[in-house]
Each structure stands twice: as C-alpha cells, then as structure tokens.
Point group: C2
Chain length 227, copies 2
DNA sequence: CGATAGACATTTGTATACAATACCGTCAAG
DNA sequence: CTTGACGGTATTGTATACAAATGTCTATCG
C-alpha cells in the first residue's frame, strides 16, 4: 500500500508544486523561482530542486535556454500526441496485463467497476468519484503489466488537467460508455486475451480523446463569442 | 582544475556515473552510495543526487525499498519489452518525422548514411564509428519528430549496453542490411510517407532485437559450456 | 539455541551559506 | 536612434554541516 503522507520534504514539495501548477493558480508560461516554490511548499530549496527534477521529467515544468523554470504550456499538437502515445502505451499495458494479471486483481477491478457504475448512476453523476476510481482502475492495470518502464513513462502522459477537463465534460451517456468499456476490459482480462484487451484499451483512450477535443473546440468557440 | 571548461558539476556527475554503470565496472545489483559516486565523479553529493535522479529515471539505477541505490539489473523480459516499446515509439517518431522533416535534415541523413556505409565497407568494419553515426541518425529523426515527450521517453529505452551488445555482434551482412534500412527510411522521408517510415523503422528495431536475442542466447550457451 | 531490544555505524535527507551565472537596465559611443 | 559594453541584481549551482533514517551487530532474555 502506498503511503500518501510521506514525511520526505521533497515529496511534500513535489505534491504542493504539482498541485500549484495543475490547479491553475500558475499560468502556463509563467516563471517559477526555486525560492518561490520553497515558500509555497514550506521547505528549503534543496528538496524543491529534487521535486522540480521530477516535474520537469513529467514535462509539467520546463527549463528555459538556461536553467530558469517555467510552467509548461502545451500546444494542441502536444495534446494530440499525448493521446496517441497514451493509446499505444496503455494498449500495450493492457496487453501485458492480460497475460500477467492475478485473480485477485481482476476481482479488485470488478469492485472498482461497481463503484464507477455507482458514481455514474447517481444524479448528478459524481464526476470526482468517477475520476478517482477511474485512476485506480488504470493503476491496477499498470501494476499488473509488471513493467517498470511503462510505470515510468505513463505518468508523463496522464496529466491531470487533461484528464479532468475530459471527464468533467462527459455527458452521462459518455460516462456510461466509459464504464461499459471498463467492464469489457475485465472480460478481456478474464479471458486472458491480450489482443482483445489491447484493442478495447486503445479504443477507450481514443474515444476519450475525441470527447476531449470536441469539448475543447466548444470552449474555444464560447471564448471567442464572449469577446 | 579537474576540467578546462566549466560544465555543470551535476552534468559531470551524470556522465561519469553513467559511464561507470554502463562500462561494466559496476556489477548489476551492486549497491552504490552517494558518497562513493561523489568520489568517482569528483564533485560533492548535491550534484550527485541530481545526476542520480536522472539515471534513476532512465532506470539505470534503482532505489531499494528504502532509498538505497543499486545498479539496475535487467531481466530477459525487461529487455524484450524495451525492444517492443522502442519499436512502437521509434516507429511513431519516424511517422511524425516523415510529416515534419526539413530538406536540410534529409540531406544530413544522407551524409550520415554515407558514413555508415563507409564504416561497414572497410575491413574489418568500424563498428564503433557505425554506432556513433547510427546514433546521430536516430537523433536527427527524433529531432524532426518535434515531440518533447518522445525525446524524454526514448532515452530510457536506448541503453548503451544493449545497443553496443547488439551492434558488436552484427555480422557484416547484418550491418549492410541495417545500412540499407537507413536508406529506405530516407526514401520514405523524401516521399513524406509516414506509414512507410513507420513500417521501416519498426522492422528495423525488430530485426535488431532478433539479432540481439540470438547472440545473447549463443553467449549463454557458451557460458554454460564453459562450466 | 533462537529471538529481540538496543546501541552503534552507515547512509540518506535537509537546511544554509556562499559561489557562479544569467538577466536587465543604463549609459556611452557610433 | 541603434548598438554594445558595463555593472548591479536576481536566480541558479555547489559544498558543507548536521539531522533523520536505516541497517547491523551484539548482548541479553526466554
């Protein structure tokens, strides 16, 4: 089990800075100084630097030509590609998971799937609960995939702002479809069918992309209409 | 006094430690202490820690249950998967590159390809030169792919020991085939055919995998025969 | 004899001070 | 005006000292 409240100052810094960036309190492109981040997270610059390294690796923070820190700013192309890569890698993870997953893990996925259904079925749908369980679901698959490399690479493709923006825009029918896909994944795992699992997962991510990009477009149009 | 130029100490540490690990002076699974690494790289522990973070991210170094450092030890499955992921990601990079690559970059690839041919054709083939130019070739494609994410992820899949072990085992015919594939990639880029580029690249990596795994097997048999 | 608590040694984590470097406004020369 | 050199200021980089934690060994008790 993971320890959420880690005593390491560098982990505290990581969480706080990540939160700071993802919550939107920091503008994309804005400069960040180590000292400012140290103040925000309540520790000294040393652990902040370690945290920044990690965030930099996830491309949430970028370093300028020389060493100054800025909040990352993603282009439309960046986001498109994130989904493409996620499709490939999560598809691969699902494929591996289908070969390695334990009965216990499949049961766990079933329980989570029940919670997902519950979150969708109440009215209004509990999107935040849906997101939390969705994340757990994907984490278990990643774990079952038994690949340190995937575990290292996927976090940089599953940035919260995109995830959140996607799911908060789901209509109920879309959430239901998503829940159905989770069920189908479980079926593929139960059958130990790696091709099936890969295909379902790829399509799952791909659909999320289209939901995302259509709502992003709608948003943009609304912004332009307000000017 | 150590260095005429003044690159960052953390970069020096990164290079030295990486070298130390990859050169085989460090046994897989061996423990590394920060102080030892500081001695090796001639800087203090602070930059060493930053270097270690990077190497840890590339999975060249791993952290134990609690925070002690060890030289990574790859299983056969790890290596298999590295090649699978490389195939996917480099294939994707080639696909993107086919859409974005500039004329200048294609010319550059042509020049490198000439050097590759030259390295293969002399006798005995200059494997080390081949490797260097091969790396440049792939770097240019990665650059042309214009994807910070790919640029961040691929380094953790292209670990020198595997690359070196693969290429040093190439027979001349295999090197020639590799050079031919590079030419075909250039053709695909010139035609701006992203599907072609992806297919050639995927097959290129896949073939490297089989060369690698067959020679690894041969090595293992020889070792067993010696016992 | 085995288990275990506790002291000691080793290693990692953090804060701070100071050094090196990059940025930016100012001013002088062309 | 533009340009380029200069210097002050802000920011990052490094070393060191010390704190916290982890591992290990031994002595003692059951």
């Amino acid at each position: 089990m993971e320890n959420a409240t880690s005593p390491r100052a560098s982990d505290i810094a990581y969480d706080k800075i990540r939160q700071f960036v993802l919550s939107g309190r920091a503008e994309p492109g804005q400069q960040l100084t180590e000292e400012q981040l140290a103040r925000i997270s309540g520790v000294s610059r040393t652990p902040v630097r370690e945290a920044v390294r990690r965030l930099e690796n996830e491309l949430l923070i970028v370093r300028s030509d020389s060493k100054r820190l800025f909040v990352a700013d993603w282009s439309a192309d960046d986001i498109d590609e994130m989904f493409v890569l996620r499709g490939m890698l999560e598809g691969h993870a699902a494929s591996r998971a289908a070969r390695n997953i334990s009965g216990r893990q499949i049961e766990e996925l079933g329980r989570i799937s029940d919670l997902l259904d519950a979150a969708v079925r109440c009215s209004p749908p509990d999107v935040s609960e849906f997101l939390a369980q969705n994340r757990r679901f994907h984490e278990i698959i990643l774990e079952a995939a038994c690949s340190p490399r995937l575990s290292a690479m996927l976090p940089m493709l599953v940035e919260q702002p995109v995830v959140r923006r996607t799911a908060t825009q789901y209509k109920t029918e879309e959430l239901l479809q998503s829940a159905r896909e989770h069920r189908e994944l479980i079926a593929a795992f139960t059958a130990r069918d790696s091709h099936w699992a890969r295909a379902v997962m790829t399509s799952h991510i791909r659909r999320a992309f289209h939901v995302f990009s259509s709502t992003a477009k709608r948003h943009k149009e609304q912004r332009q209409a307000n000017d």
